[in-house]
Amino acid sequence: MKKIGFFLGCNIPFNRPDVEYSARYLLNELGYEIVELEGATCCPAFGTMPSLDLVGWAAASAWNLTIAEEKGVDIVTGCGSCYGSLNEARHHMEKHPEVKEQVNKILSKVGKEYKGTVKVWNFINFLYEDVGLEKLKSKIKHNLNGLKCAVQTGCHNLWPSKAYPTNEDNTFFPTRLREICEAMGGVAPHYSTITDCCGMGALRSTASEKSLNLFKKKLDVIKEEIDPDITVMGCSSCLLQFDAGQALLVEQKKLNYKIPALHIVQLAAIAMGADPEKATVLASIPLNGVITKIKGGN
């Protein structure tokens, strides 16, 4: 049985544990043994250690990477920022041996050593490459039945491409998440603002209204160009914006429509037979229509 270390981060286990439930269900269905990364921490988030200095950032990330190294597994994460922070730290240490050396000096105080042998996946690339679309297809119990999906890959899953071990052929024209949705029986057209930022993150904390306006611009384009049944995320932070952020826009009367939002692991888990209630229990935008459509597809 193939093993994989599941890196939780913060937003998934604390804000959207239904995504954690779904990821666990999905990995089990796909035949992976989930290796718990006991004692893992925040990646760390870009506004924390990375904004203090490079060695501190790399040391904090290396703490997480060594947990996987010690267990001899690679890592998968559902959060784009975790994917970015861990991979960028790994990349900096690879490029600057003196940083790695300083990090190892710090780690040695708690009896650890960072070697640099771990690969960090996000779920998009993991499903696309490690699992593969054919295998994914073979595990589907409820075909998506033509469900129209607008995908949101998320910036951190794409850039800086030099830090990532695998990526889209053209990061400004991402297709992998679309192909995954289509492999499960959905329809996932391209749209003109597909790579635009959703505004969640530092922008949302620093300039909340501007962040939500930016997000609304993107949603309006999605609505106008493809009018999807659902939006599908490759990143848990994007999910917070597309779900709770969208609900906030509706509440503020700035939006007069609602499009349900799911993380790709939620959609895939449901397609593989997960209990839709548990898999989406914390969604703010109601999903009812979507689940009926998927269930009718078998």
Partner: protein, 178 residues
């Protein structure tokens, strides 16, 4: 601190030593910038309407405009998305400049209050984001109340804290590291 506070560039404020400080803090290709504007054209901060967006920040940094850069809040609105790094024809790595400015600002305690909140949470719990009521949410999703992260393992969390105490956080944190 306010956003978009830079409309007039005052060259008498130019300070070469600040350019060097930023280079040392990670913006080592800063001087390669040709002000082509590609970074600004792809930056979500610009799209969202923050006035002091990345092209202007690179410009101000090259002039060494310390006060403007340390006081303006725009650098804290950066999404760390790395579009600018991807697209810059001169490999200036504008995002690494943003981090350098933040690093300089942290040293003189010129950052938004929520930055400290994230750092304090990171140190205390091992999680920058540590929202109340998560046990209830986890139960709803059929999961154990606590995830198997540092929050569940006191000994491991203490080791992580020891690592953080051996970083620059020890000098900078305006809260006790105990």
């Amino acid at each position: 601190m306010e956003e978009g506070g830079v409309n007039v560039i005052d060259l008498t404020q130019a300070d070469e030593s600040f350019v060097k400080e930023l280079e040392a803090l990670g913006a080592d290709e800063l001087r390669e910038c040709i002000q082509c504007g590609k970074c600004g054209a792809t930056c979500p901060m610009a799209l969202a309407g923050l006035e002091f967006f990345i092209k202007r920040i690179v410009h101000a940094a090259n002039l060494g405009l310390r006060d403007i850069l340390l006081e303006d809040s725009s650098v804290w609105g950066c999404q760390s998305c790395n579009r600018c790094v991807e697209i810059c024809p001169m490999d200036v790595k504008p995002y690494e400049l943003i981090q350098a400015i933040r690093r300089a600002a942290m040293k003189v305690e010129s950052c938004p209050a929520n930055t400290y909140e994230g750092l304090r949470n990171l140190y205390r719990f091992g999680h920058a984001v540590y929202p109340k009521g998560y046990e209830e949410r986890r139960k709803k999703a059929g999961l154990p109340e606590k995830p198997p992260t540092a929050i569940s393992y006191d000994e491991l969390r203490k080791k992580y804290q020891e690592i953080l105490r051996n970083t620059i956080l020890e000098e900078i944190a305006p809260f006790p590291l105990d």
